[in-house]
C-alpha cells in the first residue's frame, strides 16, 4: 500500500514538468510573421525577423536609446508604404518576442503619453 503511494507520488512528480512544459511553438519567426500579417505587414519572413532582431541589438548596444529611436530606424527600413501605426505594431510585436528584456523601453514610452 505504502509502495503504491510512493510510486503514485513519483509518477505525479515526473508528469508535472511534462505537463507544465511550454507548448511547442512552430517557430518564433513564423509566429512573428503571423502577427505581422494581422497588422497588414507582409514582405519576406526572414527579412522581417532579422530586422526585429537587429532592432533588439540596437537597443542592447545603445545605438538606439529608446523605442522612439527604434521606430525611426524601422520606418527607414520597412517598406515605404508602411504607416507609422504599422511601424509601432511591428515594434510592439517584435520586442516581446525577440528581446522581452527591452519591453520596459516600450512601456516607458507608453507612460510618456499617459
Amino acid at each position: 500500500m505504502k509502495s503504491r503511494l510512493i510510486a503514485g507520488l513519483v509518477s505525479a512528480l515526473v508528469a508535472l514538468p511534462i505537463a507544465a512544459a511550454p507548448v511547442a511553438s512552430a517557430d518564433r519567426d513564423t509566429d512573428f510573421a503571423a502577427q505581422l500579417h494581422g497588422f497588414g505587414i507582409y514582405g519576406q519572413r526572414d527579412f522581417n525577423a532579422w530586422l526585429a532582431k537587429i532592432t533588439c541589438k540596437r537597443l542592447t548596444t545603445g545605438v538606439d536609446a529608446d523605442a522612439r529611436e527604434s521606430a525611426v530606424f524601422l520606418s527607414q527600413n520597412l517598406a515605404r508604404t508602411t504607416t507609422t501605426e504599422q511601424v509601432w505594431q511591428f515594434l510592439g510585436a517584435g520586442i516581446p518576442l525577440y528581446c522581452p528584456e527591452h519591453t520596459a523601453a516600450l512601456t516607458a514610452l507608453a507612460g510618456d503619453h499617459a
Partner: protein
C-alpha cells in the same frame, strides 16, 4: 563573256569580299576588362567626402541586414585579416577621387592587385559591392561623427 573570264571575275570578287571581312574582324576593338565609373567601385563611393566610420555607421542604419551580414562574415575571419581589412579601407578613404578611380581600375584589371582580397574575397563588400547600399549610405554619412572606431565593434550572434 567567255566562261573562263566570268570565273576570273567571280574569283576576284570573292577575294575582295574575303579580304574586307578579314580586315573588319582584325580592326574591331579588342575587349578589355576595364573599370567603369560604377564598377567595381560605385562613383558615389569614389566621390564621397565621408571617412570609413561615417560610411559604416550610415550603412548600419540604412542597410542594416547587409551591414549585419558583412559584420558576421568579418567576425569569422582571423583577427589579422580583420585588421588588414580595416587598415586597407582606411587607406582607401585617404585617397582622393582620382586615386580611388585608379584603384578601381587596378582591381578591375588585375585580380591579384588587392592583397587583402586574396585572404578574404568579400573584405570590402559593404563598401563597394552594392550600388544601392552605397547610394543610401553616402547620402547621409556626413551626419555621423568622423573616426568613431566603435562602429566596427558590432556584436554578432554566435
Amino acid at each position: 563573256m567567255s566562261s573562263s573570264r566570268f570565273r576570273w571575275i567571280m574569283r576576284a570578287l570573292l577575294l575582295i569580299v574575303t579580304a574586307s571581312a578579314a580586315a573588319g574582324l582584325l580592326a574591331s576593338p579588342q575587349a578589355f576588362a576595364d573599370a567603369t565609373d560604377e564598377y567595381p567601385i560605385p562613383s558615389k563611393q569614389i566621390e564621397t567626402l565621408c571617412d570609413a566610420e561615417q560610411y559604416l555607421a550610415a550603412a548600419r542604419d540604412t542597410s542594416p541586414i547587409y551591414f549585419e551580414r558583412y559584420m558576421l562574415d568579418k567576425s569569422n575571419r582571423p583577427l589579422d585579416v580583420q585588421q588588414a581589412a580595416e587598415d586597407r579601407i582606411h587607406w582607401f578613404y585617404s585617397l582622393d577621387a582620382a586615386g580611388r578611380r585608379q584603384y578601381s581600375e587596378d582591381t578591375a584589371t588585375n585580380i591579384y592587385y588587392e592583397q587583402v582580397a586574396t585572404r578574404w574575397g568579400n573584405w570590402a563588400k559593404v563598401f563597394f559591392n552594392n550600388k544601392g547600399v552605397v547610394a543610401k549610405a553616402t547620402a547621409v554619412c556626413m551626419n555621423y561623427p568622423r573616426g568613431d572606431l566603435s562602429v566596427w565593434d558590432w556584436p554578432v550572434a554566435r
